[in-house]
């Protein structure tokens, strides 16, 4: 299981105090983020990028674990539909994201803290725009209410 520190990155000038986790597919969003960097494009420093081989590799447990630990919002960035390197990984991710959104509604955290977007490797401006939108959404929602009570350690298995 991934270990996530929900506190904002050290030394970063963040637009707000929120922390966004972005699961970025190797074949599109990660390359788009790389391109955004190479082009010196500015985007909020609140985002922590998790490099994944395909969004189809991300499971429901990853979303829930991150939110339980106090992450304020999660962006899942996969390839354009029909363009997945593994044929349908992004479509599977889409279904998992939808199922998790339903769960987040049920537990009272709200579905807006999780979002899936699709883009291609050349779309650096789109990547930056989606990150900004997510930061805006999370800033509007306020901090993850679980962060305040995150002092309590997860129960041992």
């Amino acid at each position: 299981m991934i270990e996530i520190d929900p506190s904002p990155p050290a030394g970063a000038v963040a637009d707000s105090n929120c922390t966004i986790l972005a699961f970025c597919c190797n074949f599109c969003a990660y390359a788009a983020a790389d391109l955004a960097g190479a082009r010196r494009m500015q985007y909020p420093a609140n985002v922590r990028i998790v490099h994944v081989p395909c969004t189809g590799k991300v499971e429901v447990e990853h979303f829930l674990a991150a939110l339980e630990r106090g992450i304020d919002g999660i962006l899942v960035a996969g390839c354009l539909e029909g363009g997945c390197h593994f044929v349908e990984g992004n479509l599977r991710a889409k279904r998992r994201v939808e199922a998790t959104m339903q769960t987040l509604d049920e537990i009272g955290l709200g579905r807006e803290r999780l979002r899936m977007v699709n883009l291609s490797a050349s779309e650096a401006p789109t990547f930056v725009a989606r990150i900004q939108e997510m930061v805006e959404t999370v800033t509007r929602l306020g901090p993850n209410p679980l962060r305040a009570s995150a002092d309590r350690e997860e129960s041992p298995k």
Binding site: V60, E61, L64, A65, L67, E68, T103, E106, I107, G108, L109, P145, L146, S149, R152, E154, S155, P156, K157
Partner: protein, 222 residues
């Protein structure tokens, strides 16, 4: 295989409302295969329940264990130390599993996390269909291996009813007409003459209607 589905989070939250330390028990057999009550589903529900309770300001401590089979005492025994440590048990087993655990730990509240549905098979990834009602008196040999009791919505033994359209059941068009399937199958195996026989009313005494059934095989008892 027994097929079950998870209850809504709100329902589970409600039954666990009075407890602060709960043991979540998964089952490694049927409900793992039908993606409802295995180790992963127990983990996901634990995340959800911990978050829901923290949002309510009443954190819950959850211990997770998944045993091979909840319907056998031999495996349930492994739970004894964990059951001792917790105030209640949430079972992710089928109805049989929940009851087996409740019998084994008479002093402990035991709750069901799943709705047990039917005996069925995996049709395709994440799709299950009902195939057997467990009526206690199998008629499959007469009908080419297709059960009219389970798969015909009207449970006809002398079908078809005449209401099917394009080989689909009139009760629900997403279901094939069982009698169409039976006809095709009997034709393929050269046993169409089975359909000329009038099948007498089924003896339902072997079914559930007189309460829970019991099977004893004397030759294997010790």
């Amino acid at each position: 295989m027994i097929v079950a589905s998870r209850k809504p989070i709100s329902e589970i939250k409600q039954v666990l409302a009075r407890h602060d330390k709960v043991l979540f028990v998964g089952c490694g057999t049927c409900v793992t295969v039908c993606l409802a009550g295995g180790e992963r589903e127990v983990g996901i529900m634990s995340y959800a329940m911990r978050m829901a309770r923290r949002l309510d300001g009443r954190p819950i401590e959850i211990e997770q264990v998944t045993i091979e089979r909840q319907c056998e005492n031999e495996f349930i025994q492994e739970l004894a130390p964990a059951a001792e440590r917790n105030a209640a048990i949430l079972s992710f087993g089928c109805g049989a599993g929940v009851q087996a655990i409740a019998e084994r730990f008479p002093e402990k509240p035991v709750y069901a996390a799943l709705d047990t549905q039917f005996l069925g098979i995996l049709e395709e990834q994440a799709v299950w269909t009902e195939k057997c009602l467990g009526c206690g008196s199998c008629v499959l040999s007469d009908f080419g291996g297709i059960c009219p009791i389970t798969r015909c919505a009207k449970r006809l033994l002398n079908g078809p009813c005449g209401g099917s359209t394009e080989e689909r059941c009139e009760v629900s068009p997403d279901r094939p007409c069982a009698w169409q399937l039976i006809y095709r199958r009997l034709k393929a195996i050269g046993q169409l003459e089975n359909l000329e026989r009038i099948v007498p009313p089924k003896d339902w005494r072997t079914s559930w209607h007189a309460g829970a059934r019991r099977v004893v095989r004397e030759e294997h008892r010790i």
